[in-house]
């Protein structure tokens, strides 16, 4: 879908972080956790590309979606300044989604900072299916542990950390020593994903990572957002926007 949307609200979490709510009934109704949207919300031709953002949550009753964002450059700086009723073009929902297999009984959800943006939607989805979900989030400061209350409301086990000396995966590892997980879902740095891979090898569970790449089209046409993936020994290019943004951790090549 490509819709002319508008800002319902744009809540400032901090100088750098915000949460924008957008009118998008059809997207709210059809999106799956892990999917993203491409958005253009400025006049003129700079920035050039639309910007990709994960869907943080959907609200079917109000016909809205929410995006959690961090200001890192020109495009996100403009996003921060949007006000109620400002116009936004949205293309989406795009990409694949977090696979939640029938046999999964207990999953881990791992993220850092704004990397946790797609995780709320995933947790909601898992809980609806009655899957047990342990959420592990780290951030630089407590206010950047987004959606904490929500995770608790829907009865996820929640571990939040602002300890810079510990990787968030270390909390997960502690759990793994005594609890079996069927799968882990991670969104964050290469380092984080690498550490999940190590734990997968050690403890045996499935791992899925949400990746980012610079995108032009967002729909698979331009072949611009490729990464290298390894499928059973064979390396090939895969488009993050189309085959992803969610990839099995075991297929990732760094």
């Amino acid at each position: 879908m490509y819709i002319d949307s508008q800002v319902v609200s744009n809540y400032e979490i901090d100088k750098e972080y915000g949460r924008v709510c957008l009118e998008a009934p059809e997207i709210a109704a059809s999106a799956l956790p892990g999917q993203f949207v491409m958005m253009k919300y400025w006049q003129g031709l700079t920035p050039f590309f639309m910007r990709p953002f994960s869907i943080n949550s959907t609200d079917n009753k109000n016909g809205t979606i929410e995006i959690l964002y961090k200001v890192v450059g020109e495009g996100t700086a403009i996003l921060k300044k949007l006000q109620k009723a400002d116009k936004v073009q949205i293309l989406g929902p795009l990409g694949n989604s977090f696979p939640l297999k029938e046999n999964f009984k207990r999953i881990a959800i791992i993220g850092r900072g704004v990397g946790a943006a797609p995780m709320r939607f995933l947790a909601e989805y898992a809980r609806k299916k009655n899957v047990e979900a342990h959420v592990f989030i780290s951030a630089a400061r407590p206010e950047f542990l987004f959606d904490t209350t929500y995770f608790q409301t829907i009865e996820c086990q929640f571990t939040g950390s602002c300890d810079d000396r510990r990787l968030v995966t270390s909390y997960f590892e502690e759990e793994l020593t005594h609890t079996h997980f069927d799968a882990a879902y991670v969104c964050g740095s290469k380092r984080l994903i690498g550490d999940v891979k190590r734990l997968m090898d050690q403890y045996g569970f499935e791992g899925y990572a949400s990746l980012e790449a610079h995108m032009a089209c967002g729909v698979g046409a331009c072949k611009g957002c490729t990464i290298v993936i390894n499928e059973e020994g064979t390396e090939r290019f895969a488009r993050v926007c189309k085959e992803g943004p969610i990839f099995p951790v075991r297929n990732l090549v760094y």
Binding site: M1, Y2, K40, L45, T46, P47, F48, F49, M50, Q89, L91, A213, H214, M215, A216, C217, G218, V219, G220, A221, C222, K223, G224, C225, T226, I227, V228, R236, F237, K242
Partner: protein, 308 residues
Amino acid sequence: MYKTDLSVQISTLQMKNPVMPASGAYDYFEDNADVFPMCTLGAIMLKSVHRYPRPGNKPPRIAEVTGGMLNSIGIPSIGIEEFLNKGMLEHYKTLNVPVVISISGGSPVDYVEICKMLEGNPFIDAIELNLSCPNVGTGLQLASDEVLLGRTVQSVRTVTSFPLIAKLSPNVTDIRKTAKISEECGADAVTVANTYMGMKIDIQTKKPVLGNIMGGLSGPAIKPITLHMVYQAYSVLNIPIIACGGIMCASDAIEYILAGATAVQVGAGNFVNPMLMKEVIEGIDDYLAKNGCQSLSDIRGIANCRKN
């Protein structure tokens, strides 16, 4: 459907309007934003199919720059043989719009081989020779070498009866020369032009941003340069020109037509606005109607004082 006559003809290729995607910047099936019906388009232009299978270049493959983008996709392709075996062309034909296949190769012989394989194929309506991709091999561009260009067009001409469109490189000293050579060697039209060789350097890592070091610049940044090339080419050619470079709105397309273009291609603009091609078609129609014109020929080339 339209208020005016938007139809154009390029050799035997009949288009109901002058707008088609630029090769490689649009897909028609699952990789499409799906915001308007494909039959809206004047023609279906395919992503270049290479002679042999190619994985494409190593990532990162795109970078944003002021007024546009760099790409070093490098024509990932399953190769013409598998492409034909898979019945891809039949598939495109179901869209009920004339189909132009774009082909690429590393040497003139590659193009000849592909055209031989395509000869008589009932599912295509024209062939565009991508002679100008800056991202294949060591940056050799057939269309930047007058001798190779002429040789390629000429030898392809002898083996194909399809309308032949030579897609020229803007990385040349004088587009009039390469355009004229294409015409003389039998091209039925030229596409002016492809991307400009460019690059971006990350001052933090101190390395080129693109995995392939350099890439092709496209988008509105290049429009003034390509527009001038269309204007120049129009002054020397008797065959139609398809303009391609930086079209972001109907007005850009109209500038190209006023400079002498018969048809236009939209590339990077599709990414920024998935509705763009539809808007361009409607915008041209509105413009003609508002200016009391019946058809595109009323405005084609009229900004061009150099046409003799």
